[in-house]
């Protein structure tokens, strides 16, 4: 049975991205699969804040200035230290295969529906998603 959090996120993303709710699966990448562009990411942040009555600080969901340090990024590639920093500071982000070819400009491909769900579970302080979304 679909749960409340997942459905609310689906509705929020469908509204922001102009896609069918059924296309919004936990594994879907906001950029690669759902076609999100920069303004859509901002739209999503604002809609999530309004839907869940929270404020999402800069750098909470997306990497912000985490990777500005030269030891974290060398010639457009995130170093091992940078990847560890991402894992520590952005635990909602799933790096998966990205770790094998960590080009900084492709990091946004890793922003998934699951990442948002995990973040919201943490922020809202309850585990309300389905087994499907955090498996």
């Amino acid at each position: 049975m679909e749960n409340e959090l997942f459905v609310k996120v689906q509705q929020t993303l469908a509204g922001a991205l102009g896609v069918e709710q059924s296309e919004i699966t936990p594994e879907a990448s906001l950029k690669r699969d759902l076609g999100a562009e920069s303004i859509d990411f901002i739209d999503i942040i604002f809609r999530l804040e309004k839907t869940f009555d929270i404020k999402i600080p800069s750098g909470d969901l997306f990497p912000s200035h985490l990777l500005n340090d030269e030891k974290f990024v060398k010639e457009g590639i995130i170093t091992a230290e940078g990847l560890n920093e991402l894992r520590t500071k952005l635990p909602y982000l799933e790096l998966g295969e990205f770790s094998k070819d960590p080009q900084i400009t492709k990091l946004a491909d890793q922003f998934t529906v699951n990442m948002i769900l995990r973040y919201l579970q943490d922020r809202l302080g309850k585990h309300s998603c389905s087994d499907q979304c955090c498996s």
Partner: protein
């Protein structure tokens, strides 16, 4: 005119962005209050007492194009707020961005706007 000034410098990055005014209109209708507080920096809030669709479309595409030219990871609202745009004559602009408050890195570049029907676009260049 600005390009001529830089003719001997090496190009570090180029970025282009294009956005539909209809998309911007929908976005502002829904989030106009948030945009002023969270997207604009203090200087822009002073400059734009009333933020028009055209103002925001240009500001957004200029910053997005500049950000692409920098080749940095997407930094969200904090990144957009950190960029400082100066309008020059005609459709030209200059931009400066220090990605993090204590960063030694400062990007400086320039660009211009272009329009076609419903679309507003910007091209930005950063020189070494």
């Amino acid at each position: 005119m600005l390009l001529v000034k830089q003719q001997h410098a090496a190009l570090k990055g180029v970025g282009v962005d294009l956005i539909s005014c209809l998309r911007i209109k929908q976005f502002l209708a829904r989030h106009g209050d948030y945009v002023r507080a969270r997207f604009l920096n203090a200087s822009e809030r002073r400059s734009f007492k009333r933020l028009s669709l055209q103002n925001f479309a240009e500001l957004f595409t200029a910053k997005e194009a500049f950000f692409k030219a920098c080749g940095e990871a997407w930094m969200g609202l904090e990144g957009f707020q950190g960029m400082r745009m100066k309008r020059r004559s005609g459709d030209f602009f200059e931009m400066e961005w220090r990605p993090a408050r204590h960063s030694k890195v400062i990007y400086r570049g320039e660009g211009h706007f272009f329009r076609s029907g419903d679309l507003v676009g910007a091209q930005a260049m950063i020189w070494k």
